[in-house]
C-alpha cells in the first residue's frame, strides 16, 4: 500500500491531509517539523512526501535539499504543499527536485489527493490504492 509522509507543522493542515489520504485509502505517516520529516523519510519508507515549506527547526526547502543528496531518499517523489504563493518559491522548489508545487488554498483536499494519485501512478503503478 502506498504510504504518504505528510511533513506539516500546522495541526489543522496536518490533520486535514491525514484525513483525505486515509479516505482515499493511503497509509499516512506524519511529521511535525523539518527534522522529524527528514528522519521519517529515511526510516519510514514512504511512497511520496508532502512537504510544507514554512516550518520550525528545518524548513521545507532545507529538507528537500537533504533528501535529494541522500542516495536512500533522493528517488522519493516530493510534492511541495504550501500557502506561499510566490512564483519564485515554486520555481526554486521544482529546481531542487520537487515533483509538484501545490498551493493549499487553491485546491480542495480531494484535488490534492487526485494530483498525488496521478504522480504515484507515474512511479509505481502497483501501489496505487483502491484501484477503483
Amino acid at each position: 500500500m502506498a504510504k504518504i509522509l505528510v511533513v506539516e507543522d500546522d495541526p489543522l493542515m496536518s490533520r486535514m491531509y491525514q484525513k483525505i489520504f486515509k479516505f482515499e485509502g493511503y497509509e499516512v505517516d506524519m511529521a511535525g517539523d523539518g527534522e522529524e520529516g527528514l528522519e521519517k523519510a529515511k526510516t519510514g519508507k514512504p511512497t511520496l512526501i508532502l512537504l510544507d515549506i514554512m516550518m520550525p527547526k528545518m524548513n521545507g526547502l532545507q529538507v528537500l535539499q537533504k533528501l535529494k543528496v541522500d542516495s536512500a531518499t533522493k528517488g522519493l517523489p516530493v510534492v511541495v504543499l504550501t500557502n506561499l504563493a510566490g512564483q519564485s518559491d515554486a520555481e526554486k522548489a521544482l529546481s531542487m527536485g520537487a515533483v509538484k508545487y501545490i498551493i493549499k488554498s487553491e485546491h480542495e483536499p480531494k484535488e490534492v489527493a487526485d494530483m498525488v494519485k496521478q504522480i504515484i501512478s507515474g512511479y509505481t503503478r502497483d501501489e496505487i490504492p483502491g484501484a477503483s
Partner: protein, 844 residues
C-alpha cells in the same frame, strides 16, 4: 567799457606780451586737445590715428618755427632800419640750436630796385666790414626791374658764410616762394633747394614785409608796399629727425614727399620698407605748401608713446609760446620801435586771437589759464557759462580760487590740493576723472560734477602758469548713475532671487546639487551633507563618486543626463544603512533656446519610506499566508464533510450551512489572494516572463476553463477567432491568462442574458484582445474609476456589491498589462447595452 588806451610802454609790457603768451598758449592747448582726441580715437582705429599724430606733429612743430619768423617780421615791420646787431640779438635770443633743430638760419632780404643795386651792394659790403664780418658779397644779379637781395644773415652754426648780396630771384625755387609770399602776404614755404653753406637739401619759409602805413589789401598794393622778406632756412634731415623722433615713429616708417621729390625717409639704409603691408598717405600743409606724408606700418600696433603725445605737444607748444613772448619782451628795449612792434604784434595777435578764441570757444570744454600766482589769465566762454561769470574782464587777474569752490563728495577741497595749485607747485599734469567725484560749486551755489585736465606751463625749466580744461560732467554722471542704479537694482533682484532659491532649496528635505555645464558644483544645500553624512570636504564630482563608490556614479550620470538632455532617476540605492533615491535633470532657461545650462540633482533619503514599504509588504505576505492556512482548513474540511459524510447529512438546513461555510471560505480565499496579489504587484515583487506566445491559445484555454460557469448561467461564451494567423505576443502567458479570466469573469458577473464574445484586433505593434458582453453596462460617471484600486462600478461604499469581489480585479489586470508593456481600457459601454473591454500586448 572804455576804448583801448593809446599804446604806452607800460601797456606794452603788461598786456602785449601777455597776449602773445596767451595766444601761444591757446594754440598750444588747441593742439594738445586735438592730439588728445587723436589718441582717444586711436584706441578705436590705431593705425589711422598713428598717422594723424604724425601729421599733427609736423603741423605743430613747424607752426612753432613760424612763430619765430613772425617775431622777425615784427622786428622789421617796426622799422626798416634794423641794425645788424639787433638782428643778431634776436636770432641769438631764440637759442636756435636748443629750440629749433633743423633751422639752419635766418635771413633778411631787401627789395632793391635794379637802378639802386650797385649802391645797395656797396653799402652792404661796407656794413659787413664795419661789423667785422669778412664774407664776400655776391654781385650776381638776375634779369629784372628789381632784386631781392640777402641783406642780413644769421647762421646758427659754423660754416661758410655765403649768400650776402645774393639775388634770390636767381634761383627758380626760391624766387617762386618769394613771389608767392609777396603776392599773398602770407608765409610761404619753398620747394626743395640745396642750402648754401652746408650744401645739404632743405627749404626756406619766407614772410613778406611791407612798408609801414601802406595799404596791402590787393596784390597790386602788396607788390607796391613790399619792403623785403624774412627767411628761415631749414635742413630736411635735421628738421624731421626732430619732428619725428624714433619714439614717435615707432615701428612705422615715414616718408615725406614735396611734389614727387622724396625729402625725408625715416628708415635707415639697411631697412627695406617698401614691402610693409599697410600704407597711409596724408597731406601736411606747411606755410602754403603741401607735403605728402607716407606712413608704412608692419602691423597694426598701439604703442604707449602715443599716450604721452598730448603732453609732448603741450610742452613743445608751451616752450614755443614763451619763446615768442621772450622775443617780444627783449625787443621792447628800444622804446620807439617797441611801440610800433607792439602795434604790429597786436594786430597779428588779434587776428590770431580771434581765430583761436573762436576755436577755443567752440570747443565743448571750458578752458582756463592762470599764471604762477594763480591769477586767472584766460577764460573761454564755456568756462564763463559754467562758472556763471558775466564779465570775463572782472575776473581776469583775480585769484582762481575766488571763482569757484572745489568739492570732493561733500567736502571742500583745500586750496593746496586743488589741481591748479598742484600743477603749479609740482609742475605735473593732473587728470581728474569723473570717478574721482570732484564737483565745482559756483557763487550761486550750483554744484556740478567735473572732469578736467590741468597742465603746468613750463618755461626754461620753471613753472610759469597752468592751464585747465574742464567740462560739466552732470550728464555723464547722471547716465553713469542711472546705469549704476540699474546694475544695483538688477544685482539686488538677482541676489533676492538667489536668496529665495537657496532658502527654498534648504527647506526641502532633499539633498540638492546644481552643476554647471562643465560639471562643476555651483550650489549644494545642507541637507545633502547631512544625507551623505559628510562634512568639511571639498565637494566635486570626483569626491562625490568616491563617497558613493559602488552605489552611484555621479560623473557618468551627469554626463549622460547633460548630453542626452533627459532626466535620470536611480532609486533604492543602498548607502550604508540608508536607502537613497537620486534624480538628475537638465536645467533649461525658459525661452526658445534648447541648450541646457547645467544639471540639477536631488538626493533623497528614502530609508524611512523603504522601511514602511517593506514592513507593509511583509505584513501583507505574512498576513496572507497566515490567513490562508486556516481558511484552507475551513474550505478543505467543509468540502470533505460534504464529500465523505454525505450519507449522514440530512438534506436541508445542516447541509446548506456546511455549503455556506465552504463557499464563504472560498470567497475569503479569493479576497486574500487579491490583496496579496495587489501588494506584490505594487511592490514590484512579481517577476514577469518575457516569452513569445500565441494569444489565441490562451483565449481558447481560458474559455474552456470558464465554459462550465457560463453554461450554468445560460450565457454564450465564444471566441471569434480571426481567419488569418494572429501574430505572437511578448509577455508572461500565465499573467495574460489571468487578465483574460478576470475580464471574462467580470463580464459573466454582470451579464444576465445573451453572452460574451472574445475577438482579436491586430494593430501596428500590438495585438489587442477584446471582451464584449451584453451585460448591464457602466454609467459614464463610473467609467473613469474602473481601473482604480478597490473601485467597483457601484454608487458608493454602502452600495458595494460584496458578492462581486473586492474591486481589485481590474486594478490588478491594469498593473499586469502595464508591466508587460500593454494597455487595458474600456472600449465602449452603454447602460443596459453591454460593455467592451480590451487589453493589448506588444507583438513579438
Amino acid at each position: 567799457m572804455e576804448t583801448a588806451p593809446k599804446p604806452r610802454p607800460s601797456f606794452f609790457r603788461s598786456s602785449s606780451d601777455l597776449i602773445v603768451l596767451l595766444v601761444g598758449l591757446a594754440l598750444t592747448f588747441f593742439a594738445w586737445r586735438a592730439t588728445n582726441q587723436l589718441v582717444d580715437t586711436s584706441k578705436h582705429s590705431h593705425f589711422l590715428s598713428d598717422v594723424d599724430v604724425l601729421e599733427l606733429q609736423a603741423d605743430s612743430k613747424i607752426g612753432g618755427y613760424l612763430n619765430a619768423l613772425t617775431g622777425l617780421k615784427g622786428l622789421y615791420s617796426a622799422s626798416t632800419e634794423v641794425e645788424r646787431d639787433e638782428f643778431s640779438e634776436y636770432i641769438h635770443g631764440l637759442d636756435v640750436t636748443e629750440n629749433y633743430p633743423g633751422l639752419y638760419g635766418f635771413a633778411y632780404v631787401s627789395r632793391v630796385a635794379d637802378s639802386e643795386t650797385q649802391e645797395f651792394l656797396d653799402n652792404l659790403e661796407l656794413g659787413l666790414k664795419e661789423a667785422g664780418v669778412s664774407e664776400k658779397v655776391s654781385r650776381q644779379l638776375a634779369e629784372g626791374p628789381e632784386h631781392y637781395i640777402v641783406n642780413f644773415r644769421a647762421l646758427h652754426r659754423q660754416g661758410p658764410a655765403v649768400g650776402f648780396g645774393y639775388d634770390l630771384l636767381l634761383d627758380e625755387t626760391r624766387a617762386k616762394a618769394l613771389l608767392q609770399a609777396r603776392d599773398s602776404g602770407q608765409a610761404v614755404a619753398s620747394g626743395p633747394i640745396l642750402l648754401q653753406g652746408p650744401e645739404k637739401p632743405g627749404f626756406i619759409i619766407t614772410i613778406p614785409i611791407y612798408l609801414n602805413g601802406q595799404p596791402t589789401s590787393s596784390i597790386e598794393e602788396r607788390r607796391e608796399a613790399l619792403s623785403g622778406f624774412v627767411n628761415a632756412a631749414f635742413l630736411y634731415d635735421e628738421l624731421f629727425a626732430d619732428v619725428y623722433p624714433p619714439e614717435v615713429i615707432g615701428s612705422q616708417s615715414v616718408h615725406l614727399f614735396d611734389e614727387n621729390e622724396l625729402i625725408y625717409d625715416s628708415s635707415t639704409e639697411d631697412e627695406h620698407d617698401e614691402g610693409l603691408p599697410i600704407q597711409e598717405v596724408r597731406d601736411v600743409e606747411i606755410a602754403g605748401r603741401t607735403w605728402k606724408l607716407h606712413v608704412n606700418l608692419p602691423t597694426l600696433t598701439y604703442g604707449d608713446i602715443e599716450g604721452s603725445l598730448p603732453v609732448l605737444v603741450l610742452l613743445a607748444g608751451t616752450i614755443l609760446s614763451f619763446l615768442s613772448f621772450g622775443l617780444t619782451y627783449s625787443l621792447s628795449s628800444s622804446r620807439a620801435r617797441a611801440e610800433a612792434l607792439a602795434e604790429e604784434m597786436t594786430k597779428v595777435v588779434r587776428s590770431e586771437r580771434d581765430r583761436v578764441e573762436l576755436i577755443v570757444s567752440s570747443m565743448g570744454e571750458a578752458v582756463l589759464a592762470v599764471d604762477q600766482t594763480s591769477s586767472l589769465s584766460l577764460i573761454n566762454t564755456n568756462a564763463q557759462k559754467l562758472l556763471e561769470i558775466e564779465d570775463p574782464r572782472a575776473v581776469i587777474g583775480r585769484n582762481w580760487s575766488e571763482l569757484v569752490t572745489t568739492l570732493k563728495g561733500e567736502k571742500k577741497v583745500p586750496l593746496k590740493e586743488r589741481s591748479f595749485s598742484e600743477a603749479l607747485a609740482k609742475g605735473v599734469t593732473i587728470v581728474t576723472t569723473l570717478e574721482e567725484g570732484h564737483y565745482y560749486q559756483t557763487k550761486s551755489g550750483r554744484v556740478f560734477p567735473i572732469a578736467s585736465i590741468t597742465a603746468p606751463l613750463v618755461f626754461q625749466g620753471k613753472v610759469v602758469g597752468a592751464v585747465k580744461i574742464f567740462r560739466d560732467a552732470t550728464h555723464e554722471k547722471e547716465e553713469k548713475s542711472i546705469i549704476e542704479n540699474k546694475v544695483k537694482e538688477r544685482t539686488r533682484q538677482l541676489s533676492e532671487e538667489q536668496a529665495k532659491m537657496i532658502a527654498s532649496i534648504n527647506s526641502v528635505p532633499r539633498g540638492f546639487i546644481i552643476l554647471d555645464t562643465e560639471g562643476k558644483i555651483i550650489l549644494t544645500n545642507s541637507v545633502l551633507w547631512a544625507i551623505l553624512g559628510i562634512k568639511g570636504q571639498i565637494l566635486n564630482l570626483v569626491t562625490l563618486d568616491k563617497t558613493l563608490s559602488g552605489v552611484f556614479n555621479f560623473s557618468a550620470n551627469y554626463k549622460k543626463c547633460f548630453s542626452e538632455g533627459r532626466p535620470i532617476k536611480a532609486s533604492d540605492l543602498e548607502y550604508g544603512t540608508k536607502f537613497l533615491e537620486i534624480y538628475l535633470a537638465p536645467i533649461y532657461v525658459s525661452g526658445p533656446s534648447k541648450v541646457s545650462i547645467g544639471v540639477v540633482v536631488t538626493v533623497e533619503d528614502i530609508t524611512e519610506r523603504k522601511v514602511i514599504e517593506r514592513s507593509r509588504d511583509e505584513f501583507f505576505s505574512i498576513a496572507s499566508h497566515e490567513l490562508r492556512t486556516p481558511l484552507t482548513a475551513i474550505m478543505g474540511n467543509s468540502s470533505m464533510i460534504l464529500d465523505h459524510y454525505k450519507d449522514q447529512l440530512p438534506e436541508g438546513d445542516l447541509k446548506e450551512m456546511i455549503d455556506d461555510i465552504h463557499s464563504g471560505s472560498l470567497r475569503l480565499i479569493d479576497i486574500v489572494n487579491d490583496f496579496l496579489e495587489t501588494s506584490r504587484l505594487e511592490m514590484g515583487r512579481i517577476e514577469f516572463k518575457k516569452v513569445s506566445f500565441d494569444v489565441t491559445k490562451t483565449i481558447e484555454q481560458a474559455i474552456s476553463e470558464l465554459d462550465v460557469t457560463s453554461s450554468r448561467k445560460k450565457l454564450y461564451l465564444r471566441f471569434d477567432k480571426p481567419k488569418t494567423k494572429t501574430p505572437n505576443v511578448i509577455g508572461d502567458e500565465e499573467r495574460a491568462r489571468q487578465i483574460l479570466v478576470n475580464l471574462l469573469g467580470n463580464a459573466m458577473k454582470f451579464t444576465q442574458q445573451g453572452g460574451i464574445s472574445v475577438s482579436i484586433a491586430t494593430e501596428a505593434k500590438f495585438v489587442k484582445v477584446i471582451v464584449t458582453d451584453t451585460g448591464v453596462g457602466i454609467a459614464p460617471s463610473q467609467q473613469s474609476l474602473l481601473f482604480r484600486k478597490f473601485q467597483q462600478a457601484g454608487e458608493s461604499l454602502y452600495s458595494r456589491d460584496t458578492t462581486k469581489g473586492t474591486g481589485l480585479g481590474l486594478y490588478i489586470s491594469k498593473l499586469l498589462v502595464e508591466r508587460m508593456g500593454g494597455q487595458i481600457k474600456l472600449e465602449s459601454s452603454k447602460v443596459n447595452g453591454g460593455s467592451s473591454f480590451s487589453f493589448s500586448l506588444p507583438a513579438a
